[in-house]
């Protein structure tokens, strides 16, 4: 996973609440077996018209937002499915940070695991940042995870808070499977205890279905 330290870039305004995962990446595009290539279908139902041509009204089809690295949205961003294709599509497009008043739980989790930083800020602040974002290329935002601040184009610093463990993993680009593997002895011990106390879990329920 790519580390996230500080990002300065163009922010795209998406003034919508409840941006769901079917909007971020519609199900019909989930058929790839790799993690890359989803960017071209990010927000496909908004970005393209029925004949496949670009919809010039959608923000990501406008300059300078084609190069946006930050997305500003409203409440409950990422609600809906557990598909990790949502952060993959954002990442593949080039968006590494989403700022919103709050996020749906699974999307929030999935983002961290892919080096996309979800930043929660109060609605009023998101509205200010939305205005900044509307200024386009002249108004870059900086998201500094090290110092946990968003820097507005006018230099004002807005603090945010990220869970310390997640911040650590993200700053260092660490894979949490490796971390968990260090607890293997504790997992072994837990399994042994569980097999004794709840034998039904290791019994019939644990066997391969016949014919499978």
């Amino acid at each position: 996973m790519q580390a996230f330290t500080t990002l300065t870039g163009i922010a795209a305004p998406l003034p919508k609440a409840n941006v769901d995962t079917d909007q971020i990446i519609p199900a019909r595009f989930l058929k790839s077996i790799s993690r890359s290539g989803f960017g071209k279908n990010l927000f496909a139902n908004f970005r393209y018209r029925e004949d496949g041509s670009e919809n010039p009204d959608f923000v990501l089809n406008q300059e300078p937002y084609r190069k946006a690295e930050i997305l500003i949205a409203f409440e409950n961003f990422g609600c809906g499915s557990s598909r990790e294709h949502a952060p993959w599509a954002l990442l593949d497009f080039g968006i590494r940070c989403v700022i919103a008043p709050d996020f749906a739980d699974i999307f929030h989790n999935n983002s961290f695991k892919n080096g996309v930083l979800p930043v929660k800020l109060p609605r009023e602040v998101c509205e200010q940042l939305m205005e900044d974002a509307r200024m386009g290329g002249n108004a870059r935002l900086t998201v500094d995870l090290e110092r946990e601040v968003v820097v507005r184009p006018n230099g004002e610093e807005i603090p945010f808070k990220i869970d310390p463990l997640r911040r650590h993993l993200l700053l260092n680009g660490l894979d949490d499977i490796g971390q968990t593997m260090q607890h293997a002895p504790a997992i072994d011990a837990f399994e042994a205890k569980r097999a004794a106390a709840q034998p039904w879990l290791a019994g019939a329920a644990g066997t391969t279905p016949a014919g499978a």
Binding site: N18, L30, I33, C79, G80, L165, I177, A205, G211
Partner: protein, 477 residues
């Protein structure tokens, strides 16, 4: 134990699965059962391969093919869409390489992952269950802690049989009283979402309780738990009771004999203690719930079938008005229109919310002796091959076919617009699935969520209809 703080069902299952607590309060949580399907796993197995890792407990893992497949006879001659085929073949290849049990596509036990987990007795009370799919909450009906995870977490569970999790808050949704005629579990859960909103459960695990929930059969409890995610909660659960144990008893992979009795004894210790603390409590009167239907593009946009399309101008602020106007435009609605006047093009009975035998019986009871309206395409897609076989044994397929419904093979089908079953732009669909998002059932498709009985009534009427006007006709099966 005396002196111990009263705990909720969630607390008990959580505590029993914490392997270790990290300094910041994150728990390393042990996972008893990991269900996998073809869409959210290829990248996870790839990750394992790249890192040279194995699946820690293949026997606690089960692969299922459900999202991508056709639900007509074409499945027997191979999947036509090359990308879908590749996803299915990739799951088959990964299962073989990593030793993971897989229900083959043409096996009778194949079906939607959230239908077959409980049906086969793999999902049991007291378990932690995960799957790379947000509707994993369904299995919470067994009295388990079950939730959806992303692909990175799928990889984490495959490699370590654990997850890094922060404890959730406890929410109790109490539904008291008797359901009125024509109302079902689906109406309960839609009414709950209408009340709490799509973000109402964020950060919580919901325990559904009260005598209206107790009175539900397992299928009904699964319908309710299934849509917890639509209320923003990652998991929903119902405490296990005799209804649960009777259901488990007959399942092929469930423990048997003495092992089962021992398990039940343990399961009886799981229900929330009197006085256990819930961070949030929501109360609903079951009797006040009328048959529900959604009008907009979010599951919280729900009304009784007797209602009319709301007026955006009545909304509190401009942002909300604008949002509602957009929903109306997408759905092709005007303020004040009666929901019962909305003509439907398609009716879909299926999905992990409502494709169990009880759901099909409910649809067939309304369809019996009646005909699907002209110009309406109505389909019934059983949740599994076993449900399909049972329905055929009961003659339900015949009743449905005679009424003009299509009777199909098991799968996710028109729930998500990923396989050949899709809406075309502008089509209006009465659907028993769980999401009415824009484009969910196909680009430009318009979804109205409702119960199986309401869906059948809509098929007969050719428009959204009040199931109470379509009482079952007598007849022999």
């Amino acid at each position: 134990m005396s002196g111990q703080k009263p705990r909720t069902l969630f607390d008990k299952i959580w505590d029993a699965h914490v392997v270790e607590t990290l300094p910041d309060g994150t728990a390393l949580l042990y996972i008893d059962l990991h269900l996998t399907h073809e869409v959210t796993t290829p990248q996870a197995f790839d990750g394992l391969r790249q890192a040279g890792r194995k699946v820690r407990r293949p026997e606690a893992t089960l692969g299922v093919i459900d999202h991508n497949i056709a639900t007509d006879a074409s499945r027997y001659t191979g999947i036509v869409d090359p990308e879908s085929r590749l996803q299915v073949e990739t799951l088959e290849k990964n299962a073989a390489e990593f030793g993971m049990p897989l229900i083959p596509l043409l096996d009778q036990r194949q079906g939607i992952v959230h239908v077959i987990g409980p049906e086969l007795g793999r999902s049991l009370p007291g378990m932690t269950i995960v799957c790379g799919d947000s509707h994993t909450s369904t299995h919470g009906a067994m009295g388990a802690l079950a939730f959806g995870i992303g692909t990175s977490e799928v990889e984490h569970v495959l490699a370590t049989q654990t997850l890094l999790q922060k404890p959730a808050k406890n929410m109790q949704v109490l539904v008291e009283g008797n359901l009125a005629v024509g109302c079902t579990a689906k109406d309960i859960v839609l009414a709950i979402i209408g009340r709490i909103g799509t973000a109402g459960g964020t950060g919580h695990v919901i325990e559904y309780a009260g005598d209206a929930i107790r009175a539900l059969d397992m299928a009904g409890r699964m319908t309710v738990c299934n849509m917890s995610i639509e209320g923003g909660a990652r998991a929903g659960m119902v405490a296990p009771d005799d209804t649960t144990y009777d259901y488990v008893r007959t399942r092929p992979f469930a423990p048997k004999g003495e092992a089962l009795e021992r398990a039940i004894e343990y399961w009886r210790s799981l229900p929330s203690d009197p006085g256990a603390h819930f961070d949030t409590v929501v109360r609903l009167d079951a009797h006040a719930i009328a048959p529900q239907v959604t009008w907009g593009t979010s599951p919280e946009d729900v009304l009784p079938i007797t209602g009319v399309v709301p007026d955006p101008e009545a909304a509190a602020d401009e942002a909300r008005r604008e949002q509602m106007r957009r929903k109306m435009q997408y759905m092709g609605l005007a303020p004040g229109q009666r929901l019962q006047d909305l003509k439907v093009d398609v009716v879909f009975v299926g999905s992990c919310t409502n494709s169990r035998i009880e759901d099909i019986r409910a649809a067939a009871a309304i369809a019996r002796g009646r005909k699907v309206a002209d110009g309406v395409r109505a389909m019934v897609v059983p949740g599994s091959g076993l449900v399909k076989a049972q329905a055929e044994e009961e003659g339900l397929d015949r009743i449905l076919r005679e009424a003009g419904f299509e009777w199909r093979e098991a799968g996710c089908s028109m729930c998500l617009g990923m396989n050949p079953d899709k809406l075309t732009p502008g089509q209006r669909c009465a659907s028993t699935s769980n999401r009415n998002f824009e484009g969910r059932q196909g680009p430009g498709g318009r979804t109205h969520l409702l119960s199986p009985a309401m869906a059948a009534a809509a098929a007969i009427a050719g428009r959204l209809a009040d199931v109470r006007d379509y009482q079952p006709k007598k007849g022999d099966v």
